[in-house]
């Protein structure tokens, strides 16, 4: 499976995706440095259960990389059907379910790692520059394991939830549909209308996570017996 994942990265131009991730993180860093000063950075947001600064980092990283996950789902999986490279893949002596799972994992692992690294870099950037920018970074409790556990688990959850876009793209046979679906999922999970937000609603996330798992299962189920159209 590891070999299949590695090959997926290679043929889908992982170098380009790494460059995009680096640029995304750099832009987010710049944005945070420019805006954080305006935030009541130490204020604890009830809806988020964390400080304003921490919540802002999480929000922007999640939004960016969930869309990016949608783009990668479109490229790695839906695009393979669109461009018919999946016909080639299915002519190899490898189980089709394994091929699709390798694609799913290639996207998941990349975006999860990118999301965690991006958060870590943003935290580091904010802390290292606080004397220059004057940001009050007390809200970043980087010494506490729960802080990092939250950063890792929320990244895993957000990347997973993005996979709800997969069956939508597959059903509509459209990469664009997968990306649009990912954007809509971002709006639902990260958005806020007035004081109403589902950002810290664990039940909502549990349901979405279950839907995401079901989405991947739906995409892999019967792949052996379905015609490749």
């Amino acid at each position: 499976m590891l070999k299949l994942i590695r090959l997926e990265w290679k043929k889908n131009n992982i170098g380009k995706q790494i460059r995009i991730a680096v640029i995304t993180t750099a832009v987010l860093m710049l944005f945070m440095l420019m805006t954080a000063r305006e935030l009541e950075t130490t204020e604890t947001l009830e809806a988020y259960g964390k400080s304003m600064l921490d919540a802002s980092v999480a929000l922007f990283v999640h939004m960016s990389y969930m869309v990016f996950t949608g783009v990668m789902i479109a490229g790695y999986i839906v695009g393979a059907y669109e461009k018919k490279t999946i016909n080639l893949m299915f002519s190899y002596p490898i189980s089709r379910a394994k091929i699709i799972l390798a694609k799913v994992l290639a996207v998941w692992i990349f975006d999860f790692v990118a999301m965690v690294i991006s958060k870590a870099l943003l935290y580091a950037g904010l802390l290292l520059t606080k004397s220059v920018t004057g940001i009050n970074a007390e809200g970043l409790l980087i010494g506490e394991p729960s802080f990092w556990l939250d950063a890792v688990l929320s990244s895993a959850a957000m990347v997973s939830i993005s996979f709800i876009a997969l069956p939508i793209g597959m059903k509509m046979k459209s990469s664009k549909a997968a990306i649009v679906a990912a954007v809509i999922i971002v709006c639902f999970t990260q958005g806020q209308i007035g004081s109403v937000t589902l950002v810290n609603n664990m039940t909502f996330y549990a349901v979405l996570f279950a839907v995401a798992v079901a989405s991947v299962w739906l995409s892999v189920r019967r792949v052996e017996v379905r015609d490749v159209m």
Binding site: N13, K83, T85, L88, Y92, P93, E224, V225, V228
Partner: protein
């Protein structure tokens, strides 16, 4: 007789539309099997089912003596294929695409990629990204990929699409070499008669989703496809004489006083003699062989467009 590939009553229906029905094909080891049919006849449908891309609505496919099931993966280690058109990872070079193919096939033989590229005259282009390749180069790279892992069975769907005449000839020669020197069995489809005629050992003719005939090229040459053709001034009387005096029924009266006799029980001399006795003036008389094209058109019931 054991076959490398055979299908039995292969049928595919999609959305209520029957694409092929009861197709039986029998591909013997070490032969080139030409799958011939007009566009839309069902050639690609059959090949997609053989490659497990589409599942048969009915019927059975046997590859190397074993039934093909949705879980048959290992068998594809022994097969090279191009179905419809070859697809590549366009940002990667031709060389990288072939290397990746080897990785997926689990085939590691030093120098095999270079050799395949050389066989298809792509050595110079190997380091260019595939997005810069012409249609013909992509087709040749597809064939290089299909033969790369020394498959026992090669399945090629219209492999000469996009090639110039010299390229087409080169591919025909390559396939013949693979067949004779490596014992590769080849199933190759085409709608171009001359192409199939010049390389196949056996021809399967498909038309409107039905298999019309499976026949060896030698058989075509030997069987009743050879006929006698005579031109007479009074075809009605000649037809009467042929039926009444010689007891012939397998003949056809065409325009211009031409009569074609497909019955090989009588000789030209006998026909000439009987017609002369019955005062039928004959302006020409000779033996001709039906071309594969004539045979194909007869089976498919089509009119030669450029006649």
């Amino acid at each position: 007789m054991s076959y490398i590939l055979q299908t039995s009553r292969l049928t595919k229906t999609i959305g209520g539309k029957e694409l092929v029905r009861d197709v039986d094909i029998h591909v013997k080891k070490g032969e080139i099997y030409g799958f011939l049919g007009p566009n839309g006849a069902g050639k690609t449908t059959v090949m997609k089912m053989v490659m497990n891309l589409w599942k048969p609505t009915q019927g059975v496919i046997e590859l190397f003596g074993k039934p093909l099931t949705p879980q048959s993966y290992e068998v594809f280690r022994r097969i090279g294929s191009i179905i419809e058109f070859p697809t590549f990872y366009e940002h990667m070079t031709g060389f990288e695409n072939l290397r990746m193919h080897c990785e997926y096939m689990g085939y590691y033989q030093h120098g095999s990629v270079d050799k395949a590229l050389e066989m298809l005259h792509l050595t110079e282009a190997a380091k260019k990204p595939v997005k810069n390749y012409s249609l013909g180069m992509k087709e040749r790279l597809g064939i290089a990929r299909a033969i790369l892992c020394k498959p026992e069975l090669l399945i090629l769907d219209e492999p000469t699409n996009g090639l110039d005449p010299a390229g087409m000839k080169q591919i025909r020669e390559l396939l013949r070499t693979l067949c004779t020197e490596q014992g590769t069995t080849i199933l190759v489809s085409s709608h171009i008669l001359s192409e199939i005629e010049s390389m196949a050992d056996t021809i399967g003719i498909i038309h409107q989703g039905r298999m019309r005939k499976e026949i060896g090229l030698k058989e075509i040459e030997e069987m009743s496809l050879a006929y006698m053709e005579l031109t007479v001034q009074n075809p009605e009387r000649a037809a009467y004489v042929l039926a009444d005096q010689l007891g012939l029924s397998n003949f056809k009266v065409l325009d211009g006083g031409i009569i074609r006799i497909y019955d090989n029980r009588v000789t030209i001399e006998e026909i000439a003699k009987v017609l002369a006795i019955n005062e039928v003036a004959v302006t020409s008389l000779g033996r001709k062989a039906e071309t594969l094209e004539d045979y194909f058109l007869k089976l498919t019931g089509e009119v030669k467009a450029d006649a």
